[in-house]
Symmetry: C2
Subunit: 238 residues, 2 copies
């Protein structure tokens, strides 16, 4: 595939900072309506144009625009405005010790991306709720970069209630995070290939509360993420 | 307020059908990118332009595009494309018998609209997760139309796990549904007044499973909804 434009979507400023720094990305003056919180950065990856859309500060609450509603809009805006040949969603996530995850691992989304918090027990609606949007295989990428491959499952909450764990298990999830399935829904509508890279900040099947591990490991995981993200971009743009 | 354009967002075809029929709305050829599922209908309300955006069929799963991800995008598209003076989100919902709800009641969203399934226990993020997007008072509207006033709380699931109920209670929720807070988030960003009208299909604090009551009462509740929706539009456009 000839890649002339790559669009990367990240939710949090702290997740994006190492990537912006290492790639020397420059902020772009408002590309979208100025009332939207998303921030846009641009640069080059070889001969390809590289654009980064970060969730931005929520004007009402003053924190990063995380979770699936801003992610939905960021994906739409990325595709409609930049018509990328490749969409990448990069971010931090929870992993499962029982499935071999360790803090700082970077996973590549494999097979499909699912929701674990859209429970719609109506005939026909159940599968829609889960989504199961397929992602390309990106053959050779995971082994070349030392990425783990796994199924990503998305919900709007950082924590996990028992029903979430049941659904994560049913989804075959290796990675639990808060944006990818929303982005995968839009990418699937537009048939834009989506590469999801998720760096593990916390192990959700251990005793430590996710929020404590998340905050302690966010900087470390964001550094691990930018290394793999930059390598993946170089691999795809080559 | 001078109203020249009203945009209505509804998730399900069956919810929208009585409204389309009674208002004589006409389908419009693709207004948005044809890869998006949303369907658009147009008509008049007095001298005001009236546009209806319905979620449309999900191309992968063949069912109506319900829940907050399509609702986010529908709200963005409605505002960016039609620049409405008033946004209305109309749909069916669950109510609480303990708070006086009955099947077929139509509630008007009062005070603010919240999420009950975005649990983000990080300092500063908690309130962002709940959202609490204020809605205008629409003084006189509820009493003129015989609407109940109540707080609407939104989640991506039709059912309710114990944690959802705790959050719904903390939110002061009278109405539980699956789209309004996402639409309220976008409306809040753009400072477009949002009127939310929700017709009760099921009582979530009774023994009958939501999905059974929902399916049994969907047509009835959609008829009750269109009556109040048309009256509200006439009231606002007058």
């Amino acid at each position: 595939m000839e890649i002339s434009t790559i669009a990367v979507i990240m939710a949090m400023a702290e997740e994006a900072e190492p990537f912006i720094r290492e790639m020397g990305l420059e902020p772009v003056e408002p590309v979208f309506d100025s009332r939207l919180p998303m921030e846009v950065f641009e640069g080059k990856a070889g001969t390809a144009d590289l654009v980064l859309i970060v969730g931005g500060k929520d004007p009402r609450h003053g924190v990063d625009s995380v979770a699936t509603q801003p992610a939905t809009l960021a994906a739409y805006l990325a595709i409609e405005r930049f018509n990328p040949d490749l969409l990448i969603n990069a971010g931090t996530a929870g992993g499962f010790r029982a499935r071999g995850a360790e803090i700082g691992d970077v996973y590549m989304g494999a097979d499909c991306i699912r929701f674990h918090d859209r429970r719609i027990p109506i005939p026909g609606m159940e599968a829609y709720g889960v989504g199961s949007y397929p992602v390309p295989e990106f053959r050779g990428l995971a082994s070349a970069l030392g990425l783990k491959r796994g199924i990503i499952s998305t919900g709007n909450s950082l924590d996990m209630v028992p029903e979430d764990l049941e659904r994560l298990t049913a989804n075959g999830a290796d990675v639990k995070e808060m944006e990818a399935a929303a982005i995968a829904w839009v990418a699937d509508l537009y048939q834009v290939p989506l590469l999801a890279l998720k760096s593990i900040t916390d192990l959700v099947d251990t005793e430590t509360p996710t929020q404590d591990e998340f905050l302690a490991n966010l900087a470390l995981a964001s550094e691990a993420l930018q290394e793999k993200l930059i390598a993946a971009i170089a691999y795809c743009a080559a």
